[in-house]
């Protein structure tokens, strides 16, 4: 799990794995997990944290103990390394899990809002790691902006709208069956922003929803805010990459497969050229962060 880790000194104690677990060991293991529960804490900034991480690597019995403590608390260990620290995340139904209803109150009543909030998180990840290589490459640092995520989703929606028009489809949903409305339409028809009395983004606008998602991810230690350009600029952390790669991506993919939808790609080329390059609106599928 931490094979790429390079420790500068190797004189760490190597207690025998058979040594009995003392309450002090259990306390240390729990403290390491507690550090992991503070996702914004940088391991390099805290000597004790660094020390415990070192022990986790060198002492298999301690490692097992720490992993067991995490599992007992309802946590999943993603990685233990100096770059990500004790990267733990909430298991399903764990007390640490984030629930949509707590995240945004309106989502309980309005499935459209619920979808928009979920999609904002998915789109933020897709824009942060536009290519599969970016998600696999441990050294990659993605960049996202609030306006960038919104524009990127709108672009994809516009593409779908155009395709539907080309095929002469009528995408207007039936009045009495809002659940059958195509998902892209929900994002497309929500306003991007709006003027308010106190010069803040309306929370229900798509940029408001994206901004909430990015701010929330920042609190989770997944993003770091780097500036105010384009509605807020962020860069990704190692934890976010782990979370998306090992947890969220596969969970969403499994759900998609369960719906009978098997996305077919050849594994390498992620973004296909648009089929019809003769029209002006060349780009279909986007994935790259904005550069401005």
């Amino acid at each position: 799990m931490s094979e790429h880790v390079e420790w500068s000194d190797a004189e760490a104690p190597a207690p025998s794995a058979s040594a009995a677990v003392t309450p002090a060991d259990a306390a240390d293991a729990a403290r390491l997990v507690a550090f992991g529960l503070q996702p914004k804490l940088q391991p390099a900034r805290d000597q004790e944290y660094t020390e415990l991480l070192r022990r986790h690597r060198d002492d298999p019995a301690f490692a097992r103990l720490a992993d067991a403590v995490a599992a007992g608390l309802g946590l999943v260990v993603l990685e233990v390394s100096p770059r990500a620290g004790m990267a733990v995340t909430a298991a399903e139904e764990s007390v640490f899990a984030v629930r949509m209803g707590d995240y945004a109150r309106r989502t309980a009543a309005d499935s459209g809002d619920r979808f928009l909030h979920g999609l904002a998180h998915l789109a933020a990840a897709a824009l942060a790691f536009p290519r599969p290589e970016d998600l696999a490459d441990d050294t990659y640092i993605g960049r996202v902006t609030v306006n960038g995520v919104d524009a990127f989703v709108r672009q994809a929606c516009r593409r779908l709208e155009e395709r539907a028009e080309e095929q002469g489809e009528n995408t207007d949903p039936a009045t009495d069956a809002p659940g059958l409305e195509a998902a892209w339409r929900i994002w497309a028809r929500r306003s991007a922003t709006g003027a308010t009395k106190d010069a803040r983004r309306p929370a229900a606008s798509t940029t408001g929803i994206v901004a909430k998602a990015l701010a929330f991810l920042t609190d989770s230690g997944f993003l770091q805010r780097t500036g105010d350009d384009n509605g807020g600029t962020y860069r990704t952390t190692a934890r976010y990459q782990l979370q998306v790669r090992d947890m969220a991506g596969s969970a969403a993919l499994a759900e998609l497969l369960e719906l009978g939808i098997v996305p077919v790609t050849d594994g390498t080329a992620t973004l296909m050229p648009a089929e019809d390059t003769d029209d002006l609106d060349l780009v279909a599928d986007a994935g790259l962060p904005f550069h401005s």
């Binding site: 996702p39 640490f96 899990a97 984030v98 949509m100 499935s111 619920r114 979920g118 998180h121 998915l122 990840a125 897709a126 536009p130 290519r131 290589e133 306006n147 672009q155 779908l160 002469g168 009528n170 949903p173 039936a174 009045t175 059958l180 409305e181 195509a182 998902a183 892209w184 028809r189 306003s191 922003t193 003027a195 983004r201 229900a204 940029t207 929330f216 989770s220 979370q243 969220a248 991506g249 969970a251 969403a252 993919l253 759900e255 998609l256 719906l259 996305p263 790609t265 080329a269 992620t270 973004l271 296909m272 050229p273 002006l280 609106d281 060349l282 780009v283 599928d285 986007a286 790259l288």
Partner: protein, 509 residues
């Protein structure tokens, strides 16, 4: 017809009769027309609802104001952002004021804001409109559908500002019949304009020029979207042929339009300068402004086109020439986002929920001790400081007055140098007079001012409209003085023609 939609009215002519339902093809045209009709509904709505406003507003033609607002927003849409909210309100007011000249300006402004807010439909969550119409599905069942549209939308601008843009629907309402090729329509409009100018029919020419400007705006908008997308996405774009072709085509277009519009500009200028009729003169002047605006927009478009190449190459360097990773991750866009978007909401929400549940990380639950809770509840709320933190008293240090001469000395010297315009004096005489006052420093100051006057600040005096100016001239006489050496300058006062200079200044400006 507009939001909130009424669902109880069924178009009777469609649901009546046992005849087999027409196929979707026959219905499609009808649906399109119904949607077009729906786009005008918010405008009618304004006139219908103005009676509900507190106050006597029936005198205002709200639909007219609304159309004017859509007009203004379309014309003020910039390449990057959009039209400024306040600017639109300010420009609407003259028209509203013309409708009811005796009403207060505050009311005019209120009407402008009301119309604009209603065009954005501020009250609704989506800030848009919804109309309901019915069509026959392929199997002959009658389906009632929601049509969502916007007329003016708010888009984020730089620095967190909000700008207004007209949507395609609004442009359709405004100009109509836009199902034509943008390029050819523009060429047609310009040829028409040229002919009209040549024949001196300026009234028609203005209409044609305004139409040409709508087309120009529309064209920029199309290209802006394409370039935006190009910038975001490198590998999805066929950079071998399609994009260079597109850019070359667009550059050709800009060059051609630029030439064309410059030619028109020259023509109109001629018409403006040569015509005798003041009405013609005014119209031609307006035309010059419109065509200038078109040229400005084309120039903006061109600079965007030129930026596309370097941007692509920089992205190419970053992505294509990096060493490929050995393992492959999930393609978040291709595997997840793209397949989710076309799904119906009730299916898509399962995928996004799964992603949300696993992708947001963890939150440590907050647990409250009853003792703390009591404290928290009993703590008086902290009063918010409206004025911010108190400013520290600045610690000022008095700088010592190290001037060589005092104010009194300067006044005395100026009095000495206040010479009548027709009687210049030698510096030696002035120095002698200065010494007679008993102040030894005064002579120094007088000498200094005289030397300074050898190069008088004519430009400053001209700009500031001074009445007179002190000057000093060296006529070769040497100064015989115990303290100073050099030329015995002739010091005098020149009177300046202030009125003439003022006239010159206005002319130059």
């Amino acid at each position: 017809m507009t939001s909130p939609a009424s669902t109880d009215s069924v178009p009777p002519q469609l649901s009546a009769g046992p005849r087999p339902a027409p196929g979707p093809a026959a219905d499609e045209g009808l649906a399109r027309r119904l949607r077009a009709l729906a786009c005008t509904a918010p405008l009618h709505d304004l006139d219908a609802r103005k009676a509900n406003l507190a106050g006597e507003y029936s005198v205002y033609g709200m639909a007219e104001v609304a159309l004017a607002a859509i007009d203004l927003v379309t014309l003020n849409m910039d390449f990057d952002t959009g039209a400024d909210h306040e600017q639109i309100v300010a420009r609407l007011i003259p028209r509203i004021a013309a409708q009811a000249p005796h009403r207060p300006t505050a009311e005019h402004e209120r009407v402008a804001r009301w119309v604009l807010e209603n065009l954005i439909n501020v009250g609704s969550v989506d800030r848009g409109f919804r109309a309901v119409y019915g069509t026959f599905a392929p199997d002959g069942t009658y389906v009632r559908r929601d049509y969502d549209f916007k007329l003016i939308e708010e888009v984020p601008g730089p620095g967190g500002t909000v700008y207004l843009r007209t949507t395609d629907e609004a442009v359709n309402v405004l100009v109509g019949a836009l199902d034509t090729d943008v390029t050819s329509a523009q060429i047609a409009a310009e040829v028409k304009l040229e002919v009209l100018i040549n024949r001196g029919r300026l009234a028609d020419a203005q209409l044609a020029a305004e139409q040409a400007r709508y087309r120009t705006v529309q064209y920029s908008e199309t290209l802006r979207r394409a370039l935006d997308a190009t910038r975001r996405n490198v590998r999805a774009v066929d950079w071998l042929s399609a994009v260079p072709d597109m850019i070359a085509e667009a550059l050709d277009h800009v060059a051609e339009r630029y030439r064309h519009e410059n030619a028109i500009l020259t023509n109109i200028r001629k018409a403006r300068d040569e015509t005798e009729d003041p009405e013609h003169k005014r119209r031609a002047a307006e035309l010059v402004d419109i065509v200038k605006d078109c040229i400005r927009r084309h120039t903006q478009l061109q600079s965007r086109l030129l930026e596309a190449g370097p941007l692509f190459r920089a992205e190419q360097d970053r992505q294509a020439f990096a060493t490929p990773a050995t393992t492959s991750g999930t393609d978040l866009y291709g595997h997840l986002l793209a397949p989710v978007l076309p799904l119906p909401l009730e299916q898509a929400i399962r995928v996004t929920d799964a992603f949300f549940g696993r992708g947001t990380g963890l939150r440590t639950p907050v647990s409250v001790r009853i003792a703390d809770l009591v404290d928290i509840l009993l703590t008086p709320p902290v009063e918010r400081e409206h004025l911010g933190a108190e400013m520290p008293e600045p610690d000022l240090i008095a700088t010592p007055d190290d001037s060589r001469f005092s104010e009194e000395q300067l006044a005395a010297a100026m009095e000495l140098l206040d010479l009548p315009a027709d009687a210049p004096r030698r510096l030696s005489g002035l120095l002698a007079e200065a010494r007679r006052t008993g102040d030894p420093d005064l002579a120094y100051l007088v000498a200094l001012l005289a030397v300074h006057a050898a190069s008088p600040a004519v430009g400053t005096a001209y700009r500031q409209g001074e009445q007179k100016l002190l000057f000093a001239v060296d006529d070769g006489t040497e100064l015989d003085d115990p303290e100073f050496g050099g030329a015995d300058l002739i010091v005098g006062t020149a009177l300046l023609d202030a009125a003439g200079m003022a006239a010159d200044r206005t002319e130059a400006a």
